[in-house]
């Protein structure tokens, strides 16, 4: 009897170990089970009947139902694809890119992602380039910025979905009298004991100052998505000027680092994007107002803040089966078409990149979108940046917020920017 008990205990121990072991080392334990059969299965599945199989779509949670409806509509109009079983899964755009990179073969066939992930995805072969006719169509129907964002080294890799990934200023009309000048805004905030929110730590918001001052930071890539060259001039008089403006901003008691309305307490102004429009409306109530970014004094001159214009894209994964590839191509092209973009705007208020959809009166009347539209004139279409850049920008931001340069002279600032610049250059090639 005792022995049987002991045996049972040993078994229990094994299961416990299995459970622990798997947690500790998910990569080797999980992957083969999931991914190994994939290459063998896929061709077999698709071979017998050309138009049958499964297709997986990843989109942001907000548009899952919308996408399902649109897919149903598309399949109805194209009965030749009726054999495919399409599943739509909610995967946040940022996660979609990382998930694709973790395991390309298990990833979705069509997925939405922010365009700053394009380089990573192309480098990992997780995106297939658009067919020539689709590429031409995309270039003709969408605004130039979004087309540039979907293009790498002359090849179009994805369908533009939105042209609203930029930032501008939401503010409280009752506190801020003049939204066009940062010094005046800060003075108003300090007087009212309210806060000014700007995400100085983020490699996305931070360049508003540097680009505004006339600096550049872009990367060149080769066909395979590898970074070949970094074009940067942060270590310059303009860069030092922008850095001083950032340090002055960080020193103000009204400054709070952040860019999310939901985390903001006591805000009078916040630099944020259209996705927070509803939250901002709720927070500011009837004092809600939007404006392009203000000007700031850099090296004695009032300078308009710049920044990135950003875009959401829809990509197709490389396929091993031709028939399925055709379906993926057609479906993705449909989901990114002007008609669907406008429909999407009406459901979730994502600003379209399609020129015809943009001209729609409903889109034109949107306050936040029009502020963004004004700001987009001063921005650079966001190109491709290596993943390390975003961390490096956080490092620079942390140093500024942490007060490391509060007493630094121009030479010290230039030296710091030189380090930043050299590290950026180091990421290329």
């Amino acid at each position: 009897m005792k022995k049987i008990l002991a045996l049972l205990l040993a078994l229990v121990m094994v299961f416990a170990l299995c459970a622990c072991g798997q947690q500790a080392a998910p990569a080797p334990a999980d992957k083969p089970a999931e991914a190994a059969p994939a290459p063998a299965d896929k061709p077999a599945e698709a071979a017998p009947a050309a138009a049958a199989g499964t297709l997986k779509i990843w989109v942001a949670e907000a548009i899952v139902d919308f996408t399902k409806d649109q897919v149903a509509k598309f399949v109805e109009a194209h009965p030749e694809y009726a054999g495919y079983e399409v599943t739509v899964e909610p995967v946040g755009e940022g996660d979609a890119a990382s998930n694709m990179l973790t395991d390309v073969e298990a990833g979705a066939d069509i997925f939405g992602f922010p365009q700053d992930q394009l380089a990573r995805l192309v480098a990992a072969d997780a995106l297939i380039e658009l067919s020539e006719e689709n590429a031409a169509l995309v270039a003709a129907e969408n605004d130039a910025g979004s087309v540039a964002a979907a293009t790498m080294a002359g090849t179009v890799y994805a369908f533009p979905l939105t042209s609203d990934n930029g930032y501008f200023m939401y503010y409280d009309k009752s506190v801020i009298s003049d939204p066009s000048n940062l010094e005046a805004i800060i003075a108003d905030c300090e007087k009212a004991g309210k806060s000014f929110y700007f995400d100085l730590r983020s490699g996305w918001y931070q360049p508003a100052f540097f680009f505004g001052a006339g600096c550049t930071l872009t990367y060149d890539t080769d066909d395979a998505g590898a970074f070949t060259k970094c074009n940067i001039d942060y270590a310059s008089e303009n860069g030092v000027g922008a850095m001083k403006a950032l340090i002055a901003l960080a020193k103000s008691p009204a400054f709070v680092n952040g860019s999310s309305v939901s985390n903001a307490t006591n805000a009078a102004a916040i630099i944020d994007g259209t996705w927070d429009a509803d939250a901002a409306k709720e927070m500011f109530g009837e004092n809600y107002a939007c404006a392009k970014l203000p000007t700031v004094k850099i090296n004695g001159v009032d300078t308009q803040l710049g920044g990135f214009g950003g875009f959401k894209l829809l990509g197709v994964k490389p396929q091993t089966d031709e028939a399925k590839l055709a379906f993926c191509d057609d479906l993705a092209a449909y989901l990114a078409s002007g008609e669907v973009q406008l429909a999407r705007y009406n459901v979730v208020f994502w600003g379209p990149s399609n020129i015809a959809a943009k001209a729609d009166p409903a889109v034109q009347a949107d306050e936040a979108l029009s502020a963004l539209g004004q700001q987009l004139a001063f921005t650079v279409p966001q190109g491709q940046y290596p993943g390390e850049y975003w961390s490096l920008a956080e490092a620079l931001g942390d140093d500024i917020i942490g007060g490391k340069y509060n007493d630094a002279d121009d030479a010290a600032l230039l030296a710091a920017l030189q380090t930043f610049q050299d590290t950026c250059i180091g990421y290329a090639g």
Binding site: K3, A10, P28, A226, D399
Partner: protein, 462 residues
Amino acid sequence: MDEVKRGNAVSRFFRVLGKDLREIGQTFVQGDWKTKISFLVMGFGQLCRGQIVRGLAMLAMEVGLLYFTFGFGWQYLSKLLTLGTVETHKEGRVTVYGDNSFFILLYGILAVVAILALIYLWRVNLRQNREAEGLLARGKRLPSNRSDLASLLDKNFDKTLLALPVLGIFIFTVVPIIFMICIAFTNYDVTHQPPSKLFSWVGLENFKTLFGIGGEGFGGTFFYVLGWTLIWAFFATFLTYFLGMAVAILINKKEIKYKKLWRTILVMTIAVPQFVSLLYVGKMFAADGLVNAYLLKWGWIKTAIPFWTNATYARILIIVINLWIGIPYTMLIVTGLLMNIPAELYESARIDGANAFQTFRKITLPYMLFVTGPFLLTQFIGNLNNFNVIFLLNQGNPKSLQLSKNAGATDLLVTWLYKMTINDSNYKIAAVIGIMVFLVTAIISLVVYNTMPSVKDEEGFQ
């Protein structure tokens, strides 16, 4: 001294190996034809001599392992030295996947393990043959099938019990560790990701990068992070330990009323999951968090205190918040132990005129250190790898331009490793750091454990 020991170990290894090889030779030369065939067909001798169970088991394992190694594993094993050469390419717009370095490495390792297991079983098989022959030559009977099976529940019961646990540990712990160690010697990173890209062996390149100072290397950052990891583990362990003990002693005092109430209040922090409480506390100390907001409102400060953005503040704050989480645990453990200290010791100390501090230093503390020595060690090791507290509170920030590879001022080696794999897909360096974490914990554990009073002098307090 060490040199001599190592020399002994090496020479002993070769002596044993030599003896083993000689025995294998003898088994072949002196054995009968059944034994000789067993060299190729494992279990043949046992089967011929009527030990069906042993024979079948041996044969089945040989066939199984051979099939795994050469039937299934060969396609991977044959490429283990290069980790694959066929690149993924496109035919028109259709993708054709080439070699997958990841699977080659994983299944290659498994195949090597299978070969080693086969060699071991082969040796066992020979020994069984030789033993059986010996028994027969002396005119004795061989153990029957029934007694073989029965021995699994009696003489060999330990093996029955351990078979599954050992297999489990092997598959879920040992193999992944071997795999991780191998990754440290490859260039598996963001630009070499299977299935579309190959990775290959690069020798000690990654170790050079990690320890190199200046240029490509980031030794400066590594030692900075290692330094903070050790400082953190030290304070996190000993501050919670001594303060926890102080609280326990305080509550244990006769004069204190409502003992249970105080204990319950303290234990509440354990009841709330750390994931929740730490995230909240992290937010509380943000620039626009609760703490700053109230301090500003009451006019105690003019500008928000940069709790999380100033490196020194962040480090101190993390240690302090960890006290709040750690003290209740120590208090619980110490409370029980305090009641175990014989009251006579305190009584006689009091009669001798010792004051409270003296009794603590001479009686309580030595006893505690003796009993909780191993606990302190595990706490220290646990704190070296205390991912939760650091990551949930402030993700290892603030970063700085002076630190390379994404590291922050409060990053531990493990959180740095995590960021490296999750954000940068830098698996090769992460694997090297993993090995370093192992070395640090192993060295500290071995040194401390061997000098602990509870190990050196087991009966000291009995």
